[in-house]
Subunit: 451 residues, 2 copies
C-alpha cells in the first residue's frame, strides 16, 4: 500500500485506514442484486468487527425488514450532560455496471494517483469510513469522546431504503440523538467545504405495459398487434412537455423555490461533472437549480425485447420512473399524479400498470442548530474558508425518517463532482478524505463543547 502523496505527514493514518478501507470496498455489497444479499450482510459484519476494534463494544447487527439486509448499531454514551450525535451512513452500493467501463475491477480497490477506484469508494463506504476513522483516532488518542455518540449504518440505501421508516420507529431508543451527522453528500468542488441544507424527496415507480401473451413474430404480426415497446415510449414521451417541464397534473403547484445566489456560477461545474456539453430542463432555471431546488422526473430504465435483438414484438415493456421532489411536494400526491398521467396517455390496445416502489418526503435543514454551527466551524478550521450552504438534488430516505422524528440532520459530505458516484470508475479523492477525517474530529469536539 502506497501512502497518498497529499498527506505525507500522517504515515500512521494512511497506512492503517487505507488497508481497512480497501477491505470494506472489496465486499460487493450490491443491495440491488439478490445474489449479493450475503455480501451486504458481510459488509455489516465487517463494520461491527471494526467498530468493536476501535472501542465501541456494543456494536452489533440488527435485522431490519423481513428478507432485507441487517443494520449496524453501536454507541458510546460515557459523556453525561453532553449532546448526543448519531453517525449515519450506508454500506451498500450500486451495481457497478459493465466491467468494460472500468479500468480496474470495481471490487478490487485500486490506487491511481491521488484516487482510490472502487464501487462505493465515495458513495458511501468511503465517506462513512471517514466518520468511523475520526471516531477511532479520537478514542485511540484520548481514550474517550467529547460527546455521546450513537452509530446507525444501513445496507439498503441504494434500493431506496424500503422499510427504513418502520426501522427508525422500532429502534428509536437506540437511535435517539440531538443531531445526526451524515457524510453522504457532495462538496461543490475540491477545496469548497459544503453543508447541504436540503434533500429532494423521491417517488420511484415501475410502469409496466403488457401486450400479446408472449413475444410474437414481428413479420407475421407486425402492424396488426399493439406493441408494448411503442406504447411505453408514448407514455414516457408524455411525461415531459416539449420545453422540458414535467407534465404531471399539479406537479409544480406546491413547489416553493427561489433562484439561488450562485445562479451565474455553477452551470459549467454541473455540465462538466455530468459529462455533457449542453444543459437541458425546466425553462427559467439554471442547471444547478434544476438539479437541486427544482423537482424533476427521470426515467432511469427502459427494457423491452431482451438484450439480444430478436425479430419479435415483445410481450412486455417496463420503465422505472423516478420523481425527485422539493418542498412542499407530497410524495403520495405526486405518486397519484404519475398514475393519473400514465392512465391518461396510455394507448388503449395494451394493458398498463404502475407499481409504486418508494415514496420519501423532501428534507430541509435548520441552519441555526448548534450541530450545524459546529459543523460549519469545523469545516472552516480545516479548509480555511467558510462552508457554502446548498440544497442537494439527492435523496436519503434514512435522513428523511430521522428528520420526521425531530432528529436534526447535519449533512456534511465530502464527495467531489469527479467521484463518478453511481457511474463507472467511481473513486475517492484521498487528500479530501484525509481532510474530512480532520474536519469530523473537529466537529465532534466543537459540538461536544457546545452545550
Amino acid at each position: 500500500v502506497r501512502a497518498p502523496a497529499a498527506c505525507p505527514e500522517r504515515p500512521a493514518r494512511s497506512r492503517r485506514w487505507l488497508a481497512d478501507l480497501r477491505e470494506l470496498l472489496a465486499i460487493p455489497s450490491i443491495s440491488g442484486e439478490r445474489r449479493h444479499l450475503a455480501d451486504v450482510g458481510a459488509a455489516a459484519d465487517w463494520l461491527v468487527h471494526h467498530l468493536r476494534s476501535i472501542g465501541l463494544a456494543d456494536a452489533r447487527t440488527v435485522a431490519g425488514r423481513p428478507g432485507g439486509s441487517p443494520h449496524v448499531l453501536a454507541s458510546w454514551l460515557a459523556a453525561p450532560g453532553r449532546p448526543t450525535v448519531l453517525l449515519h451512513g450506508h454500506f451498500d452500493v450500486q451495481a457497478p455496471g459493465p466491467q468494460s467501463s472500468w479500468s480496474s475491477h470495481p471490487f478490487v480497490p485500486t490506487l491511481r494517483g491521488e484516487r482510490l477506484y472502487a464501487r462505493g469508494a465515495s458513495d458511501d463506504k468511503g465517506q462513512l469510513f471517514a466518520a468511523v476513522t475520526a471516531l477511532g483516532e479520537l478514542l485511540a488518542r484520548d481514550g474517550r469522546l467529547p460527546l455521546n455518540v450513537r452509530v446507525w449504518f444501513e445496507g439498503e440505501e441504494e434500493i431506496g431504503s424500503p422499510g427504513v421508516d418502520a426501522f427508525v420507529e422500532r429502534e428509536r431508543a437506540s437511535i435517539r440523538a440531538d443531531a445526526a451527522l451524515v457524510a453522504d453528500t457532495q462538496m461543490l468542488e475540491e477545496g469548497r467545504p459544503t453543508i447541504v441544507t436540503g434533500l429532494r424527496g423521491l417517488v420511484s415507480a415501475d410502469v409496466v405495459v403488457s401486450g400479446p401473451r408472449r413475444d410474437v413474430h414481428s413479420g407475421l404480426f407486425g402492424g396488426a398487434v399493439a406493441n408494448p415497446a411503442e406504447a411505453l415510449a408514448t407514455i414516457v414521451a408524455a411525461l415531459h412537455d416539449p420545453a422540458g417541464r414535467v407534465d404531471l397534473p399539479g406537479f409544480y403547484r406546491t413547489v416553493r423555490s427561489a433562484p439561488t445566489s450562485r445562479r451565474a456560477e455553477d452551470d459549467p461545474t454541473v455540465l462538466s461533472a455530468a459529462g455533457v456539453d449542453v444543459s437541458w430542463g425546466e425553462p427559467g432555471w439554471t442547471a444547478d437549480e434544476r438539479r437541486s431546488i427544482r423537482p424533476a422526473l427521470i426515467v432511469t430504465t427502459i427494457a423491452a425485447g431482451g438484450r439480444q435483438p430478436r425479430a419479435a414484438i415483445p410481450a412486455r415493456a417496463i420503465a422505472r420512473v423516478t420523481l425527485r421532489l422539493v418542498p412542499d411536494q407530497d410524495p403520495l400526491a405526486m405518486a397519484s399524479a404519475l398514475v393519473a398521467r400514465v392512465r391518461e396517455v396510455a394507448p388503449p390496445a395494451v394493458r398498463v400498470r404502475v407499481v409504486t416502489r418508494a415514496a420519501v418526503p423532501p428534507v430541509v435543514v435548520r441552519c441555526d442548530h448548534p450541530a450545524v454551527m459546529a459543523a460549519a466551524g469545523a469545516l472552516r478550521d480545516v479548509w480555511q474558508r467558510p462552508p457554502e450552504f446548498v440544497r442537494s438534488g439527492g435523496t436519503i430516505p434514512g435522513v428523511a425518517a430521522l428528520a420526521a422524528r425531530g432528529i436534526q440532520p447535519v449533512l456534511v459530505g465530502f464527495g467531489l463532482p469527479a467521484d463518478a458516484i453511481h457511474g463507472a470508475q467511481e473513486s475517492l479523492h484521498l487528500p479530501t478524505f484525509s481532510r474530512a477525517v480532520d474536519a469530523l474530529q473537529r466537529f465532534l469536539v466543537r459540538y461536544g463543547g457546545s452545550s
Copy 2:
C-alpha cells in the same frame, strides 16, 4: 422415441425422421449470439452428413461472409431434360428467450401430445427437414429423383442474412435453378394448405441516443441533464401517428395494395394466434391485411439503463426499429425516410445516430409458373382441397436474392399459427409435418413431369 399418434401407418418414417430431427433441433444454432457461432457451424455439418447419407454425395459446407456462418450446398443432377428445383431453407434459430417461459428446455426436443417442442421446431429446422425427408424417401424408394435438385441452406436468416445477396451472386453456378422451393412460411390454419404469393421486405436499423459520457446520478443531476432514455422514447413515439399510421415521410406513397377477399374472416384467427384480445394498427384495414399486404414499423427492442434499475441517468439508449415493406416500397428510400424522421424529431440536447443493419426488397410470386402450379396440385392431392394464395408479412432475404436473379420462388410452408415461432414454447405439429413430407414428394414428382 415415441411414434406420433397421428401417423401410425408409417412406423418407418416416424421412427427414423423423428430421431434425426431431434438431433438437429438439439444443436443451439442461435445466429444472433456470438458464442453460438460454432453451434451454427455444427448444424451445417450435421446437415452435410445427413444429405450425404440420403444420397447427395457432393453435399458440403461453403464459407459465406467473413466471420459469418457457413452455407450448405448439395445437388442431384441426373435428370437431364427435366427442370431443376432449388431447395432452400435455414438451419439457424432465434434466441429462445428466458428459460422460465418454456415448459421444457428449448434445445431438448420434447414430445407432448402431437407436438414436438424446441426452438426451431417449426422455423425453420422442422420445415427444412420435411424437404430433406421428402428427398430421402424418394431416393430410398426409387434410387433416383424425378427432376434435378439443388440444395442451399443458410445459417444467418434470423439475423437478416447479412451478405446473402453477395453469396448468391458468387455461388450462382451452384444455385442455378428454374424455381426455388422454400418451406419457411405458414398455413392459414391446420388443414388449410397455403401458398404464399409475396413476402414483405425489411429495413432494420438501430437508433442510438447518447447523452452524458457515463451514467450519472439521477438525484444529483436529474432535471438538468437531457436523458437518452426519455429522448429515445420521444423519437419512438413519433414514428407512428396517434391513429396507428407509420409516420415517416412518403412511407405509403408507393404502396400498392387492395383489400383481400378474406377481409371478414381472418381477424379472430390473427388475434388468437398473436395472443391478444384487440387489434391495432393502420385504420381502414383488417388485422390480417395489416400484417401482410400493408407495410408496418415495429420497434422490437428498447434498452436503456441496464437490467437492474439503478438511480442513474443512462449514458446511452438504443432501439431496434424494423420496417416491413410491401410492393413497391424501396428499402433504401425507406431507410432514408427513417433517418430523416428520427433527425426531425430528435431532441436537441442529445446525440442521435441511426445505423441501418439490413435492407431487403419485398418479393412477389408469379402464380402461373409451372412450379407454383405443381405445388398447388401437390397440396390439393394431400389435403383434398385447393390451396389458398396469401401474402405473408414475413421476410426471407435469401428468397429476395433468388427472386432478384429470376429464380422463381415457390413458398409452400407448413408452419401453423400455434407454432409460436420466435416466441417461447415453439413447436412442430407432427401430423402436419408428415403430410408436408407427402406433399413435397408429390410436388417433386409433379414438377419433374411438367416440362
